[in-house]
């Protein structure tokens, strides 16, 4: 039970981060590789401010810092005309140093004795509840609450004039320019928003684990992609779907990814070191399986039609 609880909690936090990945990869249709760096950026800021017992400030500042990281990638790409993949990698690489500056060259920080946004629930730890304890239950609810707020906000945002212009930029850039909108600005804003969410995810992750490690961000972008792909493969049946629903689908994808991941770890002989290749395999499978099942369905239909 407590394992499922952890799965859900971490899945939701990664879901939050995946929403950021979704914004750049899917809505803007541009691969932004800043993600691994901005996740750790949020994490390090959150850790340092928790050391000073300022957890909420940690979350807020990480939002801003993530946005700035995104703006830098955006400017490198749009103004200095650096290819977007390289621009993301450059920012990510630079952030590696920045994150060590923030933590004062520490590669890990423990926060067990410090305040996090979950601390006020610690008195509930003694109360048993369905094989786990009330603290875990309320932590889960807190994360869900944060996530719901964020989904509501970005869902509204993408319906505003600005949000619509951003979606259109990812959809048909030439048309947006013909509508008298500066697409460079639109791109910079979406990178900012995407990385703000990713950094916020990192910040929340650290406070949830009460632990910081400079390696937390590694592979985050791929996890975000996995969440999107898994979510869409399982839950997206219609071609046209409301954006709000797709946000929820992405979060569900992240949770399912986390469950698959935990199950894989339970198998004897699988080591945390093998995690990355498992993730890569999950992505390959979740792209491949729906394709195969679709073609099998088509073949069956064809056969049936031939019989009639």
């Amino acid at each position: 039970m407590s394992l499922i609880m952890t799965c859900l909690q971490i899945g939701l936090v990664f879901g939050l981060m995946s929403l950021g990945v979704f914004i750049s990869f899917k809505i803007l249709d541009t691969p932004d590789l800043t993600v691994d760096g901005s996740f750790t950026l949020g994490a390090s800021i959150s850790a340092i401010l928790c050391l000073h017992n300022l957890p909420i400030l940690g979350l807020l500042i990480s939002l801003f810092a993530g946005a700035i990281a995104g703006i830098i990638t955006g400017i490198l790409h749009t103004k200095l005309k650096i290819q977007v993949v390289l621009a993301g990698i450059l920012t990510m690489t630079a952030l590696y140093s920045v994150n060590f500056w923030i933590t004062g060259r520490k590669s890990s920080i423990t926060l067990y004795n410090n305040k996090t946004i979950f601390s006020f629930l610690s008195s509930l730890k003694q109360i048993e509840f369905l094989g786990t304890n009330l603290k875990e239950v309320f932590s889960l609810l807190l994360i869900i609450g944060i996530l719901v707020c964020i989904i509501l906000i970005i869902n509204y945002f993408f319906k505003t004039n600005l949000g619509m212009a951003i979606r259109a930029t990812g959809d048909n850039e030439a048309m947006v320019r013909a509508s008298s909108i500066n697409t460079d600005t639109m791109k910079i804003i979406s990178f900012a928003l995407a990385n703000a969410l990713v950094a916020f995810g990192g910040a929340l992750y650290v406070q949830h684990l009460s632990n910081y490690d400079s390696q937390y961000g590694v592979g985050m972008m791929v996890i975000g992609l996995a969440a999107i792909i898994i979510g869409e493969a399982i839950f997206k049946h219609k071609k046209q779907m409301k954006l709000g629903k797709i946000f929820i689908i992405v979060v569900l994808g992240a949770i399912i990814y986390q469950i698959i991941f935990m199950l894989a770890l339970l198998i004897d002989g699988i080591n945390p070191i093998d995690i990355k290749i498992i993730t890569a395999l999950i992505i390959v499978l979740s792209v491949y399986v729906p394709q195969v099942s679709k073609s099998i369905k088509k073949k069956r239909e064809r056969r049936r039609n031939n019989l009639c």
Binding site: K159, T160, N161, M164, R167, N172, M175, R177, S180, Q240
Partner: protein, 261 residues
């Protein structure tokens, strides 16, 4: 209204591929003019429109719109007063957004409040009204993604979007070339209806000489980056297909444009 003075565009200057795509263009249009442009492939017709739009760099010369020099204005700023429809129906609309959202996007053109809701209930009726003009029943499909529409439907929608906010100038680059003949005629008469109703100054490129004669009040024929012939309102009225043919048959190597499909 529109003045183009000695405009030159050279691609790949000082290389073996150097191409004088526009070689000293002079053009004047009055308010409400509807100019049709014909000319063989590679004559520079698209380049002319693209330089008005700010999509290609000009070598020399000047473009003035309503007495404002726009030669070096960034393209997205010009777009505020210029509407455009290209040949490819995929270019003018955002496929993964709904019809309503596409229209709302251009409706907001130039006067944006960033965080206001993009699609407003109170605008829905007027959008439906405009869509009704197209006679394609699109007014019942406001919530459908544009990617689901046919090429002709998309082109009609693009035309509507380009003219929704009554631009000073409308540029049409073979905007019916990718459509079947019937749909092409529908779109063309729709074009005429919209630009006369809204009194929009228009430039239309076409390879169909019949259409070029039928529509508009002025006509130019381009070749090799130059305007070879130009007809004002009176001259255009007297013009026939045979006349153009006899006037230019000898000099024009590429007679392909004179096929009367």
């Amino acid at each position: 209204m529109l003045d183009i003075i000695n405009l030159k565009v050279i691609f790949n200057e000082n290389t073996v591929d150097e191409k004088r795509a526009l070689d000293g263009i002079d053009l004047h249009l009055d308010e409400g003019d509807f100019l049709t442009v014909i000319g063989s492939n590679g004559a520079g017709k698209s380049t002319l429109l693209n330089s008005i739009l700010g999509l290609v760099e000009t070598k020399s010369g000047e473009i003035r719109l309503d007495n404002e020099i726009i030669t070096n204005k960034p393209s997205h700023k010009r777009a505020r007063s210029i509407g455009v429809v290209f040949q490819n129906p995929l270019l003018g609309t955002a496929p993964n957004m709904t019809i309503e959202e596409n229209l709302a996007l251009v409706r907001a053109k130039g006067k944006w409040s960033m965080f206001a809701r993009g699609t407003k209930k109170k605008n829905r009726d007027s959008l439906k009204e405009s869509l009704k003009e197209l006679n394609l029943n699109l007014e019942d499909r406001l919530d459908a993604n544009v990617g689901l529409l046919s090429g002709g439907e998309r082109q009609a929608l693009t035309l509507l979007m380009a003219t929704l906010e009554s631009p000073k100038l409308l540029l049409l680059d073979e905007h019916t070339a990718a459509l079947d003949p019937n749909t092409a005629q529908t779109i063309l008469s729709l074009t005429e209806k919209i630009v006369t109703e809204k009194k929009i100054t228009t430039i239309m490129i076409t390879h169909n000489v019949k259409d070029a004669l039928k529509y508009g009040n002025k006509l130019i024929l381009m070749n090799n980056g130059k305007i070879m012939l130009s007809f004002d309102e009176q001259a255009k009225k007297e013009l026939t297909i045979d006349k153009i043919l006899s006037l230019y048959n000898n000099d024009l190597s590429d007679t392909q444009i004179f096929t009367n499909k």
